[in-house]
Amino acid sequence: MNPCDDPLELYRRMLLIRTFEERVLESFARGLVFGTTHAAIGQEADPVGVLSCTRAGDVVVSNHRGHGHFLAYGGPVDGLAAEMMGRASGVCRGRGGSQHLHWRDFYASGILGGTIPLAVGMALAERERRTGHVVVAFLGDGTLGEGVVYESLNLSSLWKLPIVLVVENNRYAQTTPIEQHMAGSLPARFAAFGIPAIERDTTDVLEVRRLAQPLIDAARSGAGPQALILHTYRFSAHSKGDDTRDPAEVESYRRADPLPVHAARLAAPDVERVEREVQAAVDQAFRAAETAAPADPRSLTPALGSER
C-alpha cells in the first residue's frame, strides 16, 4: 500500500475492513463460508494507521486475526473473499483460508508467536540485501505468552534490525482477560531488550499514524527495532460466536469505535459516498466469490517442488 495521509482514504480503508468482516460473519451465519475466522471489528485503526506509514516493498507479517492487516496493506478484497470461500480464485488458491494469507510482501500464519522470528529473519534479509525495506509485524496481547517472541525480541535488538513490532492489546487472549494471562508490565517486556516502545490507549487512526510514522522511519534509518503498543478493543467475538464477555463491557467501548471517531472529522457527503462505494466493492467481491469455482482437488500439487 502506498503511504497515505488523506483522511477520507484512511476512513475508506477502515470501513472496507469493517464492512468486509461484518459480511464474513454474516456469511458464516448463512452457511456460505466453511471453517473458521477471527474478526478484528473495532481494531481497524491499528493496521490502517500503521500501514499508511509504510512504503511499497515494506514487509508485513500478520497473524490469525489478519483480514484487517491484509486489506490495510492493499490486498485485493475479491481475492480475500474468494479465499475465505475456498475458491480457486482465492489469493492462496483456497489452501490457506482466513488465517494463512499471502499477497506480494504480506505474510500471515495461524501459529501465534511463531511468525515473530520469521519477521526478524525477514528484517535481517532486507538489511543484508540493502533494500531499505522495513518489516512491520503485528501481534496481540495473547501472543506475548509465547516464549519464542522473547527470543525474537532479543535477536532483533542484538542485530539492530529494521523491524517495527505492533502490539494490538485488545485485552483478551481468546476469552481470557489480560489480568488472567499476563504478569508484569507490557512495555517493560520491550525495555528489557533495549527496544524503544511507545504505548497509547487509542482508536484514532490519525493518532496511530502520528505514533507509527517516526517508529517506521527510525527502524528504516538503522536505529534498530521499535515497538508500538496500542490498547484497543474488539467488538466481535474471538472467532464466530464464542463471546463470554459482559455485553455491558463491550458496549462501554463503543464510544471509542474508530469509525465514528474519525468520521466526525469528515464531510458528511464524502462519508456517505465512501460508504456506498465500499459497500458496492464488498458486495461485488462476495457475489463473485459465491459464484466462482470451488478449489479443484486436481490442484493438489506435491508439497515439495520436486519429490526427488
Partner: protein
C-alpha cells in the same frame, strides 16, 4: 583421504564462495571455536560478515532462517545437537514446510537446518538421540542424511544451493571422523550411486555373487551394515546388498523394489527407536512394492532413552552382531 567432516566443511566453504545469498547461523560457530563439532571451522575467518553467531535460541534462529529464506537468502542454520531440534519443531513443521504450499506455491523457503544426531559417545539421554523419525513425513520438509558413501559434501551443497525447499540435514556424529568411500569398485566394496539429486547407494562386497538379503539403512548405521556385510560374506558365505538412502523423506520405494525383487528379504537398520520408526515405513513400503512373500525384520535402538554408561549405551543402540544375526535369521 577426506573425512566426512572435511567434506562437509569444504562444501559450506564452497557454498559461501559461490553464492552471495548464503549465510550460516548457529551457536558457537565462530572461530577459534568453529562449532561444537567443527563443521564450520575456518568459515567465520574467511567470510566474517556471512557467518553469524547466535544466542542459545533454537526456535528463534530456525525461524530467522525461514524469514531469511522467504526474502531471497539461502540460510544454513546449525543446531548444535540434534536433540535440540525439537525446540524448533514448530518452525520446521508449521512454517518452513508449509509456507510454499499454503500460499498457493507463491513463495520458496530454501532453508537448510543442519544438525548432528546419534549416540555412541556416552553423552546420555539428551545429547545422543536420533530424533529425525519425529520429523520424517512432514509434508513440505525434505530430510536428508549424510553418509560416508560417495560425496557427503555434495549432498550438503545440493541442499544449500540447488534445493528451493527446506531441508533438514542430519549428520550422525560418528560419521564425522570416517573417511569417505567413493562410488565405484573398491578393494572391499562395490558402491553404486543412483542418478537422483540425493542419490541412493547400493553396496555389495566386491566380487560377491548376487545378494540373498537386502539391508536398508542410512547415516552411520549404514556403516555398521557395511561391517555386517563383510562378516556375512567372509564368515557365513551369505551375500547381502545394502540400499543406503540419503533422502529419507519423502521416501522413494523404487530402489528398494529392485533389490527386493532379487532377494525377497528385507532387514532395516536404523539408530532411531524401533517402534513406529523409519524401518516400519520401509518395511510397509517394501511390502506394498514387493507383494506377498517378503520376509522382513528391523534393527533399531531399544524403545528407551539412551543411557550414559558405556555398557548400557551399547546395549540400547544397534550393533554389528545383531545385524549379522538378524540377516541370518531371515535366511533360515
Amino acid at each position: 583421504m577426506t573425512t566426512v567432516l572435511e567434506s562437509l566443511n569444504q562444501a559450506l566453504r564452497s557454498c559461501l564462495a559461490d553464492s552471495a545469498d548464503v549465510r550460516l547461523l548457529g551457536e558457537d560457530i565462530l572461530d577459534p571455536y568453529g562449532g561444537a563439532f567443527k563443521v564450520t571451522r575456518g568459515l567465520s575467518s574467511e567470510f566474517p560478515d556471512r557467518v553469524i553467531t547466535t544466542p542459545v535460541s533454537e526456535a528463534g534462529i530456525v525461524g530467522v532462517g525461514v524469514g531469511m529464506a522467504l526474502r531471497g537468502l539461502r540460510p544454513v542454520v546449525e543446531i548444535m545437537f540434534g536433540d535440540f531440534v525439537l525446540l524448533a519443531a514448530d518452525q520446521l513443521v508449521n512454517h518452513a514446510a508449509k509456507l510454499r504450499w499454503m500460499t498457493g506455491d507463491e513463495v520458496r523457503v530454501p532453508l537448510v537446518v543442519r544438525t548432528p544426531m546419534g549416540g555412541g559417545r556416552g553423552y546420555g539421554p539428551t545429547h545422543s538421540q536420533s530424533l529425525e523419525k519425529h520429523l520424517l513425513g512432514a509434508p513440505g520438509l525434505r530430510s536428508v542424511a549424510a553418509t560416508a558413501l560417495g560425496d557427503a559434501g555434495m549432498l550438503l551443497r545440493t541442499s544449500v544451493l540447488a534445493d528451493d525447499d527446506p531441508v533438514l540435514f542430519i549428520e550422525h556424529k560418528l560419521l564425522y571422523g570416517l573417511a569417505l568411500l567413493p562410488a565405484g569398485v573398491g578393494a572391499d566394496f562395490e558402491v553404486q550411486a543412483s542418478e537422483d539429486r540425493y542419490p541412493v547407494y547400493r553396496v555389495r562386497v566386491a566380487g560377491a555373487p548376487g545378494p540373498s538379503v537386502t539391508l536398508a539403512s542410512y547415516g552411520y548405521p549404514a556403516e555398521q551394515a557395511r561391517l555386517a556385510l563383510k562378516a556375512l560374506a567372509y564368515e557365513h558365505e551369505v551375500f547381502a546388498e545394502i540400499v543406503v538412502y540419503t533422502q529419507l523423506s519423502p521416501f522413494d520405494a523404487r530402489p528398494l523394489r529392485e533389490s527386493l525383487g532379487q532377494t525377497h528379504r528385507l532387514l532395516t537398520v536404523e539408530e532411531g527407536t524401533r517402534t513406529l520408526g523409519w524401518g516400519a515405513e520401509v518395511v510397509a513400503s517394501g511390502l506394498e512394492a514387493h507383494g506377498p512373500g517378503l520376509r522382513a525384520a528391523r534393527i533399531a535402538s531399544l524403545d528407551l532413552p539412551i543411557p550414559a554408561a558405556r555398557t548400557l549405551e551399547a546395549a540400547v543402540l544397534p550393533g554389528v552382531e545383531s545385524i549379522v544375526a538378524s540377516a541370518l535369521a531371515l535366511l533360515r
